[in-house]
Amino acid sequence: MKKQSEKKSNNKYIYLIIIIIYFAFIIYSYIFNIPSGIEIGENLISFLAYMIKILPCAFILIGLFEVWVSREKVEKHLGHEGGIRGYIWAIVLAGTMAGGLLVALPVSSVLYKKGARLSVIFTFVSASAIVRIPMTVFEASFLGIEFTVIRWLVSIPLIIISSLFLEKYLEKQNFSIK
């Protein structure tokens, strides 16, 4: 236990050092007009602006979910009792959700807390990267519908199968989602 907390604070220091060096470099670049540093700074601002539009809403929805949806409901649909319906739910939820992986990860944490099974959670997280509807429409319009259909047909079953294996493997370890 002690070792673990030590390790964690080590990580914190590493994070802090990276952050300080990075921002020192960016500020230095702006002052002394270094193009590469300024470009990186601008990338940071544009990506941050993009994320700020999504993340606060996502976390508020997660909070609402946590207080309003009962554990029994989650267990019934996304837990071991849910059967194949759980995976269908996971894919529907992933397809209609905004934000992709970055939102799916905190959502997975609240689902886990409420008793969803691991393979459904991993299916959901992986699917959030590949089945989002707005993205899929974009893909089909630029690369053709056949391209999209093959990608779905191949990747979805593989995601479910690999999630089941991962669940089986992790059930023997003492794994938990933070």
Binding site: Y15, I19, Y22, L44, W68, L102, F147, S155, S162, I177
Partner: protein, 160 residues
């Protein structure tokens, strides 16, 4: 935009039904943001550097040179380390297609781009831990390669 509206409506509804619960929900949201913010800042730093190292012109240049098989792997690696939203990625894929790059290479690039999260790794690590985050991304990489190969077969780019 619809995301704001949905969140706003649900929040209002929740507030009207039960103030105490809504307060609790907002507190949960706040705490969860605090937990993830350090990894999130690290991710933003990675993203800003990666976007600098891999601008669009460079990606096109990478995927448009050398041997076919090598390019499939190269595309998978570039897709794994970069990050971009769909509305940037697919127009880019369209450009790649019109400059004669095969579906297989494009699939390798876009699928790893979507599925393998190198820059989001610090965030994933916070929730799943190092080992599981790593396993999940390796599995995603393998699935992406399988998708690319099957797309190659379907479009007749690989002759069996």
């Amino acid at each position: 935009m619809w995301f704001f509206v949905v969140t706003g409506v649900l929040l209002l509804l929740s507030f009207l039904l039960d103030r105490a619960k809504t307060r609790k929900a907002l507190l949960i949201a706040y705490k969860r943001i605090l937990v993830i913010s350090p990894s999130f800042v690290i991710m933003l730093i990675f993203v800003s550097i990666i976007l600098f190292l891999f601008p669009q012109e460079k990606i096109i240049q990478y995927l448009d040179s050398g041997y076919h098989t090598v390019n499939v792997i190269l595309a998978a690696l570039v897709g794994s380390v970069t990050i971009m939203p769909g509305f940037v990625a697919f127009p880019l894929a369209g450009i790649l297609r019109s400059s004669g790059i095969s579906y297989m290479i494009i699939a390798s690039f876009t699928t790893t781009l979507m599925m393998v999260g190198t820059v989001t790794f610090p965030v994933e690590l916070t929730y799943f831990g190092k080992k599981v985050a790593l396993i999940r991304n390796i599995i995603s990489f393998i699935i992406a390669i399988i998708v690319a190969l099957l797309i190659g077969i379907y479009f007749g780019e690989i002759v069996l």
